[in-house]
């Protein structure tokens, strides 16, 4: 076990210890919301960073996860075409979450199959349209989703082990632990995926699609695989969100949330595992910091927009690769100075 792994483990342990010493519930709330968005950003990074496809409809999967999970845990009755009545009774929350993840993944599969016929600008616009269609459905299918009246009283997660103990995730310290655990699991899952054969195929087709195709990489298959995993994880994040805030309305599909995820990934560094974490922490905490400074939300969003432009101009690769390069150059120059005491210049 090397130093870096130990450092990572220590970091995770520190994060798990937060509810023990942090008594300010507001801070915990911010950390929970940030954590949920980091999970969503990590899932987007799989598409945007590793396969290189700019999906601007990612919030659709997040919202689908939130809605499916809420509806399953609340139960619903809906009349489909031809008086076909579908009625679902209340399900335990853990089951609702699993269904939400599965449905989001399935939507990812369908969208992947449809939209990977096209690339570039067309792909972006298809994904935007998809999210907008889903939002309109959530807004207008009042019988199922309550439309703008929103789904209320969504139960929080409870795990019961009969005869042993039960865990309620209603309170913030437990919610925090839950979100952190899902985040850690997602991180490990994505890490394993991108370091596998499939992950190498994704990077290959990002770098040079015709070349990847010519050496036999089944491009569409890997793109769809990445979309399914990304959609399922985003669905999990949405489901966590729904059972945490316990109210879901169609505004969850707003384009601005996709933009937030994209900013997180791009700022942190797309195609790096740590990128969405770094970007997520910055853009998760920034709004609260700006709010604490009594800055109007419009100004706050303007700062977002300007930051996004500045990041693209000055850190096009994102923070993590920039820091990594700087670190590498520093070490190289140290080595160069050590081996050549006479030369004053740093290594190129």
């Amino acid at each position: 076990m090397n130093q870096l792994t130990l450092l990572k483990l220590a970091g995770v342990a520190l994060l798990y210890s937060v509810p023990l010493w942090m008594t300010d519930l507001y801070v915990l709330h911010i950390l929970i919301i940030t954590g949920i968005f980091i999970i969503a950003a990590m899932s987007l990074n799989l598409l945007l960073g590793y396969t290189g496809q700019l999906s601007l409809g990612h919030v659709a999967f997040f919202g689908i996860g939130a809605y499916v999970s809420s509806l399953m845990s609340l139960g619903f009755e809906v009349t489909l075409i031809g008086d076909l009545m579908v009625s679902v009774s209340r399900k335990p929350v853990w089951l609702a979450m699993l269904v939400a993840i599965a449905v989001a993944g399935l939507c990812g599969w369908v969208i992947g199959k449809i939209s990977f016929k096209v690339r570039g600008a067309y792909f972006v616009i298809v994904t935007v349209s998809f999210a907008e269609v889903v939002r309109l459905v959530a807004l207008n299918w009042v019988e199922l989703t309550q439309g703008p009246m929103a789904l209320n009283n969504i139960p929080a997660l409870r795990l019961e082990f009969p005869g042993l103990f039960e865990l309620s995730f209603l309170r913030k310290p437990m919610s925090y632990t839950l979100v952190l655990t899902v985040a850690v699991v997602s991180y490990i899952l994505i890490r394993r995926l991108v370091h596998s054969r499939a992950g190498r195929a994704m990077v290959a087709l990002r770098e040079n699609e015709p070349l990847a195709r010519s050496v036999g990489v089944d491009v569409t298959r890997y793109l769809v695989l990445a979309t399914v995993v990304a959609a399922a994880l985003a669905g999990a994040a949405g489901s966590l969100y729904a059972h945490y805030v316990r109210i879901v309305d169609p505004d969850i599909f707003l384009f601005i949330y996709t933009v937030t995820m994209v900013i997180m990934v791009v700022t942190g560094g797309k195609g790096t595992l740590a990128g969405p974490l770094v970007g997520g922490v910055i853009f998760g905490l920034l709004p609260e910091t700006l709010r604490a400074m009594a800055i109007k939300p419009e100004v706050q969003w303007m700062i977002y927009g300007v930051l996004m432009v500045l990041v693209v101009y000055f850190l096009p690769e994102g923070i993590v690769p920039a820091v990594r390069n700087w670190w590498k150059r520093r070490n190289e120059s140290r080595v160069a100075v050590a081996s050549e005491p006479s030369s004053s210049g740093a290594a190129p």
Binding site: V118, Y122, I125, S129, E132, L136, W301, Y304, V309, V312
Partner: protein, 290 residues
């Protein structure tokens, strides 16, 4: 039958402004290879400038429209000069991110300046509609339609009959060769972005008095413009013109006969269907990207 005629007339009138929006966006895409997320903001900007000129400064209605369009042209040129000029060599994703950033900043600047309350613009037209047989249309909408057609015609003339238009078409076909032939690419890009922005601002200024003006009005406009452009094929001006009318017809008929809640969803359904059947759009001459 009368109802159908009325819907068709409404669609025709709406289609003119949709076509304006679509042409502006498709020009920018075709020539600059840029997915312009600020397009809807220019539309909102046009509407707000018309509001400012008519309601705040008290200018003449027709003069206000001209002022709004000119300010849109200036803002477009400024965006191109400040944000895009240095990104000539950047790929399509990079410029797209910059445009998204600019869109967020612009929209919130509008919200900050004008607050979130919807504004309406007075117009000098009689409030009684013009009745032609079984159908009726308000004078304001008729005016919007005529001006939109005139602007579409002017854009066609600019692209096909002038030297600037020729240079634009050359840049569209092959940027590097055009540059070698002495076309100043910077000028063409700025002119293109200013022209596209001016058309969007014109659409906003024309529709502002018909509907109401509010800060997020640009979002749907952007998305609809994308739908129109995809429908017609990226970079095709006739495609965008016809696409604008097709989208307007689908929306009107969809809202009239299916459900008014899904009115704005028609465009997106259309995009998805078009891309399933004919991914290059209806009128694209060139192969799609990627």
């Amino acid at each position: 039958m009368d109802q159908l005629l009325q819907h068709a007339l409404n669609a025709l009138i709406l289609g003119g402004t949709y076509a304006l929006l679509g042409i502006g966006l498709t020009l920018i895409f075709g020539i600059m290879k840029l997915v312009n997320f600020t397009h809807g903001e220019l539309y909102a900007f046009g509407a707000y400038m018309a509001y400012m000129a008519v309601m705040v400064l008290g200018l003449n209605f027709y003069l206000s429209l001209v002022v709004a369009v000119l300010l849109g042209v200036v803002l477009g040129a400024a965006i191109e000069f400040v944000l895009l000029r240095r990104l000539r060599a950047a790929d399509i994703d990079t410029t797209m991110l910059v445009m998204i950033g600019a869109w967020i900043a612009l929209q919130n600047a509008e919200q900050l300046t004008w607050t979130g309350v919807a504004k309406s613009i007075d117009n000098p037209f009689p409030s009684t509609p013009l009745v032609i047989g079984p159908v009726s249309v308000s004078y304001n909408r008729l005016f919007v339609f005529i001006v939109a057609l005139a602007l579409i015609g002017a854009t066609y003339a600019l692209i096909n009959r002038t030297k600037l238009g020729k240079a634009m078409r050359a840049t569209f076909q092959d940027r590097n060769t055009a540059a070698l032939m002495g076309v100043n690419i910077d000028t063409i890009y700025m002119a293109t972005f200013a022209l596209g922005s001016g058309l969007a601002a014109a659409a906003g200024a024309l529709l502002g008095p018909v509907f109401v003006v509010y800060p997020t009005m640009g979002d749907l406009a952007s998305l609809k413009a994308f739908a129109i452009v995809i429908l017609g094929g990226l970079g095709s001006i006739p495609g965008a013109t016809i696409g604008g009318f097709i989208l307007a017809f689908m929306e009107e008929l969809g809202a009239g006969y299916i459900s008014s809640g899904y009115r704005d969803g028609m465009g997106f359904l259309l995009i998805i269907v078009i891309l399933l059947i004919k991914p290059t759009g209806l009128f694209a001459q060139k192969e799609r990207i990627g």
